[in-house]
Symmetry: C2
Subunit: 265 residues, 2 copies
């Protein structure tokens, strides 16, 4: 730990979608300190090239490590899928895709559907991770790019959201999937609309609860890491562009008021 | 002019929306050389703070000036509304909002409606510029944030686009507007859907033709400036993130194939 260490778990996302994940993590680990960084000046990442996503993610992770975070969680599927495999040392980094895949395969599905950003789908990271664990499982992916701005505009209950969800799910539902992975941090808040479309027989994997459990398990099995994290229940927020929306939607996602500090990467 | 001068007119936009404007400009000035820069690594700008939009725009303009552009056109309403008033010397900079307002007021409307990004609406630049020229004209603005990603996803003919256009125009149509300004470079391609909603009696101001005419007029009345621009009909494209989408949608907007070079700002 460096001398400025805040002894917190770092949580990185391209914007504020990861705050929906943070809420579930904090529910599991209410006493642990967390630092959240959202790269709001350059979000969304899902439409950019791998090179650019890696460059931006590296800068974000570096900032969190410099704050003395003993562990950084990439709470962004795009960043995890595009950048995580490129980091040389993953020791202090935790991605979101492997825990999600593990949870999705728990019920031994035959056909798994995934909606995610364009970059995540293009990377085939979900596909590869599923095949590593269960070679026979069939996998169907569909990029759902409009769902991110729909959530960011607070339109998740609108008719527009309904139409978009219908359009993106249709090709997956035709394949008779058993499990649907919501492979983007923003999509959790669309779960009610998605449930309407998929019916009650398809298991929906929402990443917040998955990450809460996975992180709890990681700390329980790594006492050295666990020891380095302060437990005063503190949450700090940093952003690269301090918009009203970060404060407003962040509070809605987290379920309580937040304040944030602007930094440059 | 510096020794690296390409003697071209610079055209800056946050992404590739400005290519729709460039097409109309080139139609008016087919022999002039142009350099287009799209900040695709950090687009869209419309949801960011003024401070960040100014910072990004300044970097883009600086790059174009360093290429020896005798004139830079800000083909982005968000950048024009948030950043243009902050540049100390506007000598070599041309914004998009004043020409658009002039065109909108040509028919002496009583009630003008504007759809634009959140940042453009928040700046009240359209409102202020209209009031300067025509104090009695009533002005009604509505942010239309989802229309940008809808166009970027190539969904401009979809049912989703129809619903979104309907939602954003409804409050303006209630005010009985005579003229509707499409105050974002992306919205031009939605003109057919917008026309369906507003009926035939509302005049729609699309910025491409406006800017083509305005730039032609500026050069005709400024022979010194005109003299510094090379006329070999060359178009060069630079981006901060070289995505397939820039090449694909850029070609669709421009009406011919394009190549682009990646740069860092």
């Amino acid at each position: 730990m460096n001398k400025n260490s805040q002894g917190a778990i770092g949580v990185f996302d391209s914007g504020f979608g990861g705050i929906d994940i943070l809420r579930d993590i904090v529910q599991e680990l209410p006493k642990h300190n967390f630092i959240y960084l959202g790269d709001t000046a350059r979000a969304p990442y899902g439409t950019r090239t791998q090179q650019t996503i890696y460059h931006f993610t590296e800068q974000g992770v570096k900032f969190l490590l410099e704050q003395g975070c003993p562990l950084v969680v990439l709470a962004c599927n795009t960043a995890s899928s595009q950048a995580l495999p490129l980091f040389e040392s993953r020791g202090s980094l935790m991605g979101i895709i492997k825990p999600t895949v593990k949870a999705a395969l728990y019920s031994k599905p035959e056909r798994v559907g995934i909606i995610a950003t364009e970059a995540t789908v293009r990377s085939n990271t979900f596909l590869k991770e599923i095949k590593k664990l269960s070679n026979k499982t069939e996998v169907f992916q569909n990029p759902a790019p409009l769902l991110v701005p729909i959530v960011e505009e607070g339109e998740e209950s609108s008719k527009i959201a309904e139409l978009a969800v219908e359009e993106y799910l249709a090709p997956l539902l035709k394949k008779n999937i058993d499990v649907l992975i919501l492979g983007c941090t923003h999509f959790g808040v669309l779960e009610p609309k998605i449930r309407e479309q998929v019916g009650k027989d398809v298991k929906i994997v929402r990443e917040g609860p998955v990450m809460g459990n996975a992180l709890k398990h990681l700390l329980e099995t790594n006492p050295k890491l666990e020891k380095n994290i302060k437990k005063k229940g503190k949450l700090r927020f940093y952003t690269t562009d301090l918009t009203d929306k970060f404060i407003r939607l962040g509070a809605r996602f987290l379920g309580k008021k937040i304040t944030a500090e602007k930094i440059e990467l």
